[in-house]
């Protein structure tokens, strides 16, 4: 069994606010193998975006990585210098963000944005890079690349822009891609195209993907493994098939029950009581406790809940699943 490509160990990211310490990420452990698509699911404020950003050390101002390691091919990314990190960004690890309009520089043509990346990391000269860029766009189904490559981002539609972003991300054959809600801002028919594209590219180049999303539907169709995050902690992790057929954590189960489906009508949607809130200075105990519909007396007393192995490759953070 090979070592995982990416291994996040006990990551903790805190923000110091006037109200207290925001525990945005609180002890996350995650492994991604080569060529695997890992889904990271949760609601907004749960910390999933932060985990994705931390791999590339792009945490917003004010955030501190308090502890933990992020091992990429054995090296701890958190211990690298800025220069070393810059070499990795865009080349070994790329990122695809949610809003394609702001991910691209509005003042530069598409061509120069792709060419810049190729020149930076692969050392091609301008002419070579242009040829490769055009071919790349062709491969990903970008309409009429020779003509459109000279356009500015605002002249393209959302779907086309996202394709450009994907082209840039894949241009240097990265080993890992962090995709943070890349299709949330797109129409559903365009989303289908983009998801197909990502799956094909990932298979073709054997690129691993950390796919951050709130959409369980996408996870079911795209991801090999899934991790569910709540208030900065992983509450469940398993192979996709296993998680969907046998969810164990009350939050995971509640999520499934509250999703509307277009292929079935439900009489009333289940809604989780209360709100997650912001994890500022929360006490050390089960974070889902206030909203859990299956809670028991022991849940209130325990001051730490382990991430335990419920079944082979199925982990749960719940006292009832020991």
């Amino acid at each position: 069994m090979n070592d995982p490509l990416l291994s996040i160990k006990d990551l903790r990211i805190h923000f110091q606010l006037p109200q207290g310490t925001l525990q945005a990420v609180d002890g996350v452990c995650l492994d991604i193998d080569k060529g695997q698509i890992m889904g990271l699911v949760g609601e907004s404020g749960g910390g999933k975006s932060m985990v994705g950003l931390s791999v590339l050390r792009l945490i917003p101002e004010g955030g501190r990585i308090v502890s933990g390691e992020i091992l990429f091919e054995g090296k701890n990314l958190l211990a690298l210098s800025d220069d070393e990190m810059r070499d990795i960004r865009g080349a070994d690890i790329s990122m695809i963000l949610q809003d394609p309009l702001t991910s691209l520089n509005p003042s530069f043509r598409i061509k120069s944005q792709i060419v810049d990346v190729l020149k930076l990391h692969k050392g091609y000269d301008k002419k070579e890079a242009e040829i490769i860029a055009t071919e790349l766009l062709h491969n990903i189904g970008f309409p009429d690349p020779e003509k459109n490559i000279h356009k500015f981002p605002h002249q393209l539609s959302g779907g086309m822009r996202q394709r450009v972003v994907i082209a840039i991300a894949f241009s240097c054959n990265p080993k890992l891609i962090i995709a943070d809600e890349p299709t949330t801002a797109l129409d559903v028919t365009i989303q289908a195209q983009i998801l197909r594209l990502l799956k094909n590219l990932s298979q073709e180049y054997q690129t691993s993907v950390l796919f951050v999303t709130h959409d369980l539907g996408i996870v079911a169709t795209l991801c090999d493994r899934v991790a569910v995050i709540y208030a900065g902690e992983l509450v469940e992790q398993a192979l996709t098939r296993e998680l969907f057929t046998n969810p164990k954590h009350p939050y995971t189960k509640a999520l499934f029950r509250s999703i509307p489906r277009h292929d079935k009508r439900q009489d009333q949607l289940y809604s989780i009581e209360g709100m997650m809130g912001t994890p500022i200075d929360w006490p050390a105990r089960c974070k889902f406790y206030p909203r859990c519909s299956e809670k028991e007396k022991m849940c209130d007393h325990a001051d730490f809940v382990d991430f335990v192995t419920y079944a082979p490759d199925h982990f749960v953070r719940c006292l009832k699943c020991r």
């Binding site: 559903v188 289908a192 959409d215 539907g217 509307p260 489906r261 009333q268 949607l269 709100m275």
Partner: protein
């Protein structure tokens, strides 16, 4: 007042038409909302090109009492514009809007004010729908004051408290400011404001799109309760078909300013007819590993709204296109009870003697 009498009188021109209007709370006839832009051809040139964006393009729609009509479509199809135009928040370019059998298309501000009590709207973005400088109390009491529905401070406070409770909030929330609430709570405040005037018709414009899944469920449940308690009709606008299925009795699918299919909810989802509807439904990833995902991938993207393709506007992307499609435009025709499609594939399958614009209620 005169306008109201006149409009009711004029709607009795054909006996048949009068009867069918009678059943509908809201109806549009040949409604158009076009935006025109003039663009200079080149920087220093004198000539210019007028481009017309047909946001709502000759649309016939009807909504019955106590009905939730789901209006779905992707971005830019004009569904939001339609919602606003029906409420006269945008002025129609041509066509008619009927509310409770009155032709409100050209009502003046004063006549419209009386109608406004009965039709309200809730928007998508909870952050920008509420005036950040007003307390919740001021926000919700404003419609009550404008229409003189309350007398005195005590009465106002009681009414506002009552409305807050109806939407699942607390009485003492009324002294707070919008930024002190979460997205879901703000949407509840917006709903409270909308139902303050006891409307019979509510336009819900992407009201849950900006919310998390578990909060979505809360708001949808709230809307369903309010619909029953207050006998509301709702025009539920959304791009999310799964959400629409939960709440709608009937569904209409929009593409480039036109309605391409409309049917009772169950029929649309179990047996969609229009190729666009089919592609749309197939594209949604289902949170279920037992069911495979086989999306119909449409060619290209929605064309720019100012450049409408010839014939059927969907033909450049349609997986079932044939030679008639780029030559002749389509009309919405009824092919079975309550189910209408605008597609050449169903030519000759109309229910005898009926087109969608003159059909009775299902």
């Amino acid at each position: 007042m005169l306008q109201i009498i006149l409009s009711v009188a004029l709607s009795v021109d054909e006996k048949g038409r009068f009867l069918e209007l009678h059943d509908c709370l809201v109806k549009t006839a040949n409604l158009k909302k076009y935006y025109s832009e003039e663009r200079r051809l080149a920087f220093f040139s004198v000539g210019s090109v007028k481009s017309v964006v047909r946001a709502v393009d000759n649309l016939d729609l009807h909504i019955h009492r106590h009905e939730v009509l789901g209006l779905v479509g992707e971005s830019g199809c004009g569904k939001s514009t339609l919602g606003k135009t029906i409420l006269r928040l945008e002025e129609p370019t041509s066509g008619k809007i009927f509310f409770e059998n009155q032709d409100i298309t050209h009502y003046s501000h004063d006549s419209l004010k009386l109608i406004r009590k009965k039709m309200q709207i809730v928007f998508q973005d909870p952050a920008s729908s509420l005036n950040p400088r007003k307390t919740v109390f001021k926000i919700i009491s404003q419609p009550l004051n404008v229409h003189g529905l309350v007398s005195g401070k005590r009465d106002t406070i009681d009414r506002v408290a009552d409305l807050l409770q109806k939407v699942g909030l607390e009485r003492d929330h009324m002294d707070r400011y919008p930024h002190q609430f979460s997205g879901g709570q703000r949407q509840r405040i917006c709903i409270a404001r909308a139902i303050a005037l006891s409307p019979t018709f509510l336009v819900a414009d992407e009201v849950v799109s900006a919310l998390d899944v578990s909060i979505q469920a809360q708001i949808l449940n709230l809307l369903m309760i309010l619909k029953n308690d207050l006998n509301l009709s709702i025009l539920f606008i959304s791009h999310d078909l799964s959400v629409v299925r939960q709440i709608s009795d009937r569904v209409a699918v929009m593409y480039m300013g036109r309605i391409v299919e409309t049917a009772p909810s169950e029929n649309l989802f179990s047996a969609p007819r229009h190729p666009y509807t089919r592609a749309l439904l197939s594209a949604i990833p289902i949170p279920d590993v037992q069911i495979g995902w086989n999306p119909v991938i449409l060619k290209g993207e929605t064309p720019s709204p100012s450049r409408r393709p010839e014939g059927c506007s969907f033909h450049p992307r349609c997986p079932e296109v044939f030679d008639l499609c780029d030559k002749e435009d389509v009309e919405l025709v009824e092919i079975s009870a309550g189910h209408s499609v605008a597609c050449h594939l169903y030519r000759g399958q109309e229910s005898p003697g009926k087109t969608a614009s003159s059909k009775d209620t299902p």
